[in-house]
Symmetry: C2
Subunit: 334 residues, 2 copies
């Protein structure tokens, strides 16, 4: 009997990695795809360009702090930004379920246009498909993006003592989506962190003077998945100080209530950056001077432990391993 | 009461145009998007690049002559080719319904890899989302593509006497999808024409010596929709000779049986080319020398009638107007 695709294959965790590395990569093997970065870096007419794509299936379509349109623009901008590129152009592919209210579609299109315009990128091509009722769920959006190189991050330069920085509170997006779905705590203010990070990233690059090793945006699978990927890719380990991670009280509360691990919660306006020890202070200062980095913090560092592990050290001296998540905590968060 | 999206909004006909020109374009207005071509032409580092996107929701996922994977690669290659670009790179975004057999997914991924490899393009980035059972229908694929300029087609140079050429029999794709769905005529051999056209297009450009005015790939809405768009865009009319249009007997049979108009049937391996009278012969010869152009034919010409109409002239001296289709004949053909 054959195997079938499960929701966990789309979670950003272990099964997603198995699907990508075990099934997809062997079929498409090429130098641009192989690094499995957030965007491909391609040679074009003596220059390089960065190219990335993401589909968005978030439910509900509108949520506190954003909607599927804002998410689709920010997600692709952020993939370009953390790959070291300045985002230039976006494509926009809509798959609409028959009977979607035109008014809702218009609100989401307005949100795409506003987010793109504020971020200084243009939507230059698009496509619209409509499927019959029940053939899709409201609206899915794909955005692909092209960027120009800003900085050449070199993950291979990573060394023990390098610092791990995040630009603010983690887990906000997935917690906000969970809350919107379950309709709990109506008085609680909890917005998705959905935001375009390219300007923040540019200011970090400026401040770092070549000290940025690598950046990732911790979407599906959260900070835990991203750090595990970086540990695997660099044959190093990370020690993260639990007390140094910025977490909103509301997110902490939801995690305690439902049993979520905040390390695996998806973010849509966060960057995880590994930076040289020497540049960390300047990068942190630059981040805190930007509205999207006010709560930036150094949360840990790279160690010479070659077992490719992510350790979470508690304030009480305990230490636990944060492994690659095996399945997602919630489906359809982005 | 608000309006809702209908299947006809995705048909490639009048409602699609209303949605794009009335709702989408005003929100995203920019110089690259405005021409509403098959791909955007963008300035990059002193050169230009072409960028396009398409989502694919075809049902069934596998059909005679192709599958959704082959279609997703060919569709985006063809959008680049008819915009005057040499396709270089593709992105691939998968939206998978939970429970899709892994074996079927693997077959479709193999088809993507084979089609891309044979066409000399690379899939350089991708994304995978999984939605719960009932949240989508099997598999949707988005491909975006980047190409380098091959030739600068100038629709504005169009003039009366220019010839309209197609590279072979029209309507094969939609008729094959219809037949696969309705399971009629099991003995009948009728394959989709799904094929990558960039090499054929390159040979046409070579032969034309600058005589190509404009090309389009007649997918949703068929040759009828494409000619209407060209007539509107050029403030001219076309007279098409019905007897000169290559049509398979099987497709003609299905049209008579079901009442389809072959002029509106979708193609996935056809190009409609407006070429100067002087270059038409050389272009036709070049097309017929290519495996994908063996049945190429001059089917009509541009007239100085400024009413922006498409006339279909019959062998008996009759003439009817082929207007922009108002709705699609079948949903989910691509």
């Amino acid at each position: 009997m054959g195997k079938n695709i499960t929701l966990a294959h789309g979670s950003g965790g272990k099964l997603t990695r198995d699907l990508i590395e075990g099934v997809l990569l062997p079929k498409f093997r090429n130098a641009a795809l192989e690094p499995l970065g957030d965007a491909a870096s391609l040679p074009f007419d003596g220059e390089r360009l960065h190219f990335t794509t993401d589909s968005f299936v978030v439910k509900p379509l509108e949520f506190p702090g954003g909607d599927i349109g804002k998410l689709a623009v920010c997600g692709t901008i952020n993939d370009l930004a953390v790959s070291g590129a300045r985002p230039l152009w976006l494509s926009c592919g809509l798959i609409i379920e028959e009977n979607l209210p035109l008014e809702l579609l218009e609100r989401i299109l307005d949100s795409i246009a506003k987010t793109a315009s504020e971020a200084g990128v243009s939507v230059v091509c698009g496509d619209t498909k409509v499927v019959e009722r029940g053939g899709a769920d409201g609206l899915f959006i794909n955005t692909a993006g092209i960027g120009a190189p800003l900085e050449n991050f070199r993950q291979s330069a990573i060394q023990p003592g390098d610092k791990v920085i995040v630009n603010g509170t983690i887990g906000d997006h997935e917690a906000a989506i969970f809350r919107a779905r379950e309709k709990l705590g109506r008085q609680m203010v909890l917005n998705s962190d959905c935001a375009p990070l390219h300007e923040l990233v540019a200011s970090m690059v400026d401040a770092a003077g070549g000290g940025v090793r690598v950046m990732r945006d911790p979407t599906r699978g959260g900070v835990g998945a991203v750090l595990n990927e970086l540990a695997n890719g660099s044959k190093c380990s990370f020690t993260i100080q639990e007390d140094d991670i910025p977490i909103r009280n509301e997110v902490r509360g939801i995690c305690e209530l439902v049993g979520f691990d905040v390390m695996y919660l998806a973010n849509e306006g966060k960057v995880v950056c590994v930076v040289s020890d020497g540049a960390a202070g300047a990068v942190l200062d630059a981040m805190r001077a930007h509205p999207l980095g006010r709560d930036a913090a150094i949360i840990g560092e790279l160690t010479d432990d070659t077992r490719e592990r992510v350790y979470l050290a508690s304030g009480f001296g305990g230490r636990r391993i944060v492994s690659l998540p095996t399945g997602g905590q919630l489906p359809r968060i982005c």
